[in-house]
């Protein structure tokens, strides 16, 4: 289980997260939606310590601590239990797809190369990238890179995987292959936090939707409920706009 209470984050005088409360339980898939600039990326980055929060409580399994007091060592240990999928993939450009997956296993966890390869091949197979295992990122399409990045994020058997708009940098015809990999992971019971504008994915795959606006969680609930019967005016406005846009 991962969660935060009263999470605050400012960039200078710009307060981007204004007291976010959030929890995700094991096996749950949560879609985070909301207008651009509402703080979704910053939220995921605070959860993974890529950004330093100003205040809040951080909960991960048995750990429950002031987020500003978490040590570097704890951060490293926590990151080993999470996977992060970036909007721009961020595959290591100087490494092949399979090396991207084995790198953390061999360098950080000191797993022997051959064992790491076996594991990486299983993961690349799962995301449909086994036949491209020896290609470098520059030789792969965006969809292929993102699928390899997902395999890399799964290498440590993470307890939770975060996705920051994993398909928004992709050409439309490549979105489907990434979403179908994510759907498969969800069906296998992977705990996932997915920031997305793909409403069909949120509706079909997510158990719960969190709607953020202006640094706050404005509304949350089971996917169906939030999409069909939004309670808040802001949610209705956002959904109306995004659905119009889709047509």
């Amino acid at each position: 289980m991962l969660g935060v209470r009263n999470l605050h984050k400012s960039f200078g005088s710009n307060e981007v997260l204004k007291g976010v409360d959030f929890t995700i339980n094991d096996g749950e898939v949560v879609a985070v939606i909301g207008p651009s600039g509402s703080g979704k990326t910053t939220f995921l980055r605070c959860l993974s310590f890529l950004e330093k929060a100003n205040s809040g409580e951080y909960i991960f399994d048995d750990l429950d601590k002031d987020i500003t007091k978490i040590t570097r060592k704890e951060i490293k240990a926590l990151r080993m239990k999470m996977g992060f999928v970036f909007q721009n993939f961020n595959l290591f450009r100087n490494m092949t797809a399979i090396k991207n997956v084995t790198e953390g296993l061999t360098v950080v966890r000191k797993i022997p190369e051959d064992q790491a390869r076996v594991k990486a091949e299983t993961l690349l197979d799962k995301v449909g990238m086994l036949d491209h295992a020896n290609y470098y990122p520059d030789e792969l399409s965006g969809g292929q890179q993102q699928r390899a990045a997902i395999a890399r994020a799964l290498a440590n058997d993470p307890e939770v995987v975060m996705f920051d708009e994993p398909t928004s940098a992709l050409d439309p015809e490549l979105i489907g292959e990434v979403l179908s990999v994510m759907t498969k992971l969800a069906e296998e019971g992977t705990t996932m936090i997915v920031v997305t504008h793909e409403m069909n994915f949120a509706a079909d795959v997510a158990d719960r939707i969190v709607f953020m606006e202006n640094g706050r969680v404005v509304e949350e609930g089971p996917s169906e409920e939030v999409l069909k019967n939004p309670k808040e005016e802001a949610t209705k406005r956002f959904l109306r706009r995004i659905l119009e846009h889709d047509e």
Binding site: R79, M80, F84, F86, N90, N94, N134, A153
Partner: protein
């Protein structure tokens, strides 16, 4: 009018080894030594800046400022003619290697620094998210990528260095230019001799430029096993 007669041919042909030997044993030796020392020093100067080491960072900036804002010839003369006044005496060859290395370090430090900074932040963040520490990210992700970015400008500065070794003749080093001057004076044929010398620089620098394109092509991250059809020539174009 200038004509190449029998006598001149003889002079040019007999001069060729006399020019090539100092070129290979002195000029290229200075180049290689300078490139090694200059690059090592450049790495230090770049790293103290990137790691923001307090006082060393300011010293590095001052160093770069001074060595890039004064002529190389002046730096060479200060080390060879000036430093003996303070009790530091070097041979011309040593003075040249010191001056060139210090000068090269200033330029290469900027190349290395900007190449490291050119590696996208996302690469570093991805490293952190797979559990790596700063040192692991630097050595396994950032520096290999920075090396590729730094390669073309570093190689350019190496080629410039080959030509700059000619300045060493002004501090008693008998390198190729000094020899050319001696021969030219002996036969009263400065035009022919300096053209011949120029031709040697031209050939060597052209070969180095070819080597550069070839190596740049090899440096592209491509799974050649998967693309037997891609030749290194094509790859060099893609890299450009």
């Amino acid at each position: 009018m200038f004509v190449i007669n029998e006598r001149l041919w003889q002079i040019l042909i007999s001069s060729l080894p006399k020019l090539l030997i100092p070129f290979l044993t002195i000029s290229l030796k200075i180049t290689v030594l300078t490139f090694i020392f200059g690059t090592l020093l450049a790495m230090l100067i770049a790293i103290v800046q990137i790691a923001e080491v307090p006082i060393l960072k300011q010293l590095a900036r001052a160093y770069i400022w001074i060595f890039r804002s004064t002529p190389l010839l002046l730096q060479l003369w200060i080390i060879f003619f000036g430093l003996p006044t303070l009790g530091f005496k070097f041979s011309g060859f040593t003075a040249a290697v010191i001056a060139y290395s210090m000068n090269e370090a200033a330029y290469n430090a900027e190349i290395i620094r900007s190449s490291i900074l050119a590696v996208p932040e996302g690469q570093i963040e991805a490293g952190y998210m797979v559990g790596m520490n700063y040192f692991q990210i630097m050595t396994r992700v950032v520096l290999p990528q920075a090396a590729r970015i730094a390669f073309p400008p570093m190689f350019n500065s190496l080629i410039a260095l080959v030509k700059d070794t000619s300045l060493a003749s002004s501090v008693t080093v008998i390198e190729m230019m000094a020899v050319a001057r001696q021969i030219a004076a002996r036969y009263y044929e400065p035009f022919a001799l300096y053209c011949e010398t120029g031709l040697i620089y031209l050939v060597v620098c052209t070969l180095l430029t070819k080597l550069q394109s070839y190596l740049e092509g090899r440096l592209v991250w491509k799974s050649t096993d998967n693309h037997p059809s891609i030749t290194s020539g094509n790859k060099a174009q893609e890299a450009a």
